[in-house]
Amino acid sequence: MDDMIIKKDKLPKWSSELSDYKIFAPHREDDVVIFKEMKNVNKVVLHYANSVMPPKEIFFPQTQELFKYEKSPEMKVSEAELPLEKVLLFGVRPCDARSFLIMDKLFYWDYEDHLYKQARDNTVIIGLTCTSPHHNCFCTSVGGKPYSNEGLDVLMTDLGDRYYVEVLTEKGEDVIRKPDELFSKPTDKDRKERGEIWEKAESEVTKNVEVEGVHDKLGELFESKYWDEKSRTCVGCGICSFLCPTCHCFDITDEDCGNCGRRIRTWDTCMIPEYTVHASGYNPRPGKKNRLKNRVFHKFRYFPDRFDAIACVGCGRCISKCPVGIDIVETLEEVKEVEEVEE
């Protein structure tokens, strides 16, 4: 489909044409921007660096029921209902869109996760070019761009009073309703303007790190004292992993209520001791150093080894929100500089 232009004042009309979709878009609640179901298009916020929470929750909910059970003589088990409704995810930043492709690798790996897949298949993703990157953004260091269209069905770029709309997939075509009435053809001026905005945005991503070589260097640093030093001030909370668009670990527990109950999966984080503690009480990752090291290794060594992709999209959330200022970019720079002294 050819590129298009839509005036901003036509967004309400456009959204009303999409009533067959459940629309999720960024909303401001108190001081945080989060993705919520859209009830009123005027409540959607579109001027923000990025949402506090990545939209991964649409595909990988923090709490998801797997099945219910009843302890009757015949032991009744009812599987969780598949998420069947059509979903439109609006206003996703390009970094977060790339994270979906990374999560796909995991969830479609040795076992195809049907709950995740169903949600993915049902969802159309409309991205929004990042026009004013935050100072902790570093997408360009890990293969992204503020205007990357990877993982998106539609990419929109804000041109002031209108959006430049690029339709990328068949799924994307489905959300272009009433093209003659709502959309127009882009002019050369529009194209030029978009190019300028893209270029400016890219130049504003100033935080960067050369990740080449990090993978191999990490291999030499498994026993390094560097991790003792680095993890000394870590408080061991789950902010970095819960706010990470690519962190995907989960725990499975039962909510038992006597004769019935349900099995749920919930987000988990490798930053807490409970993540690895064995039934015997033994914990192979007993200290903060083991846990912080694992998170870095997983993103920049284990995941690349297994899936040929770095499990980081450079959104900068973990840097901005770490209570003690641990900065992953700085960590990677330090990793490259560490000199191991043979003892």
Partner: protein, 334 residues
């Protein structure tokens, strides 16, 4: 470099050189101009990394709890020298609570107490800096100007001033204890405590009806992502196994991050902090979902003060409010 910063470095250097402390916990420059970050140093050569600025928001007391939890390796003599630490007045009161509760013996810590007029909220600071065209990496030399009560800084040769009230952390606006009470050494002049409403943050809520309050908290608790940051940064949350994580013999709090379990989580924390929370405000500062946690704990503090004339961390000789009993205590269940 401020005078206070100079003195901190001097004391830390001496303590480390003479081997009087096991290590020293202070503040260092953060990843951007809006935040300082904690640093732990062993080598006297590193004392120049220590800073003192309006960005020193963290309560470093949380690391003392870490220290007390350390178990010596088999056959190793434990190093029981004190740990050196920089504290603001609120943080110092936290250490008093740890003393009272027998978590931290006095001889295990060397406290540098600093009278404090309040610290800058990193988020507000970032917003203000942006408004004034200051980037996160602009040369930014901040100091607390006592007489003007402004946060001033310099960027590219242009002097920029932030009105103190606008960038101050909310908890600092409501603070009535600017001076540390328990310390080994104090740096800086005594500050007169202001007459402000220390429970200002809960006034609005108290005026609401029960239904309105329920609605208010429901929406907020629903947002919680249970990242546990509030309890991990809290020096008062030192249990080996937290009741919300306990899975055996039964799970009290489900891992479901839903309204009901989130509420349970937060109310448990609130109940466990009565007469213990010293309002360092770290929980509220670090919460990524902007949950106004101080409102819960301030309400509980107010109740403790009303019922038992008790305020946390003021008197090391006093027993913790829930570890003592007086015959004239209010007993509404009688």
């Amino acid at each position: 470099m401020s005078k206070i910063e100079d003195e901190i470095r001097g004391i830390a250097k001496k303590l480390l050189e003479e081997g009087k402390v096991k290590y020293f916990t202070g503040y260092a420059k953060g990843p951007d101009s809006f935040r300082a970050r904690p640093i732990i140093i062993d080598d006297p050569k590193d004392v120049d990394k220590l800073i003192w600025s309006p960005c020193c928001v963290n309560n470093l007391g949380v690391y003392l709890v870490d220290e007390m939890k350390k178990k010596p390796k088999r056959g190793e003599e434990p190093d029981t020298r004190p740990v050196g630490i920089v504290t603001k007045a609120c943080d110092a009161r936290g250490i008093t609570v740890l003393h009272q509760e027998n978590i931290l013996p006095k001889e295990r810590v060397y406290v540098i107490g600093i009278p404090c007029r309040g610290m800058a909220d990193p988020e507000k600071l970032e917003k203000h800096a942006r408004k004034k065209g200051l980037g996160h990496d602009a040369i930014y030399n901040m100091d607390i100007k006592e007489e003007k009560m402004m946060f001033t800084g310099e960027a590219e040769g242009v002097k920029v001033a932030f009105p103190r009230e606008e960038v101050l952390l909310d908890k600092c606006k409501e603070c009535v204890h600017h001076n540390p009470r328990e310390y080994d050494i104090v740096i800086g002049k005594r500050i007169e405590n202001p007459h402000v409403d220390k429970y200002a943050t809960i006034r609005e809520l108290e005026d609401m009806s029960l239904e309105e309050r329920e609605k208010f908290w429901e929406m907020i608790f629903e947002r919680c992502i249970r990242c546990n940051a509030c309890k991990e940064v809290c020096p008062m949350c030192y249990c080996e196994e937290c009741t919300v994580e306990k899975a055996k013999p039964m799970r009290w709090c489900s891992k479901s991050a839903d309204k009901s379990n989130n509420e349970f989580f937060h109310l448990i924390r609130a109940m466990h902090l009565v007469g213990r929370c010293i309002d360092c405000g770290e929980c509220e500062r670090v919460c990524p979902m902007a949950i106004p946690l101080r409102k819960l704990y301030r309400k509980m503090a107010k109740e403790a003060e009303k019922l038992y004339s008790y305020e946390a961390g003021l008197n090391p000789e006093e027993d913790p409010v829930f570890a003592t009993f007086r015959v004239d205590d209010d007993d509404e269940f009688e």
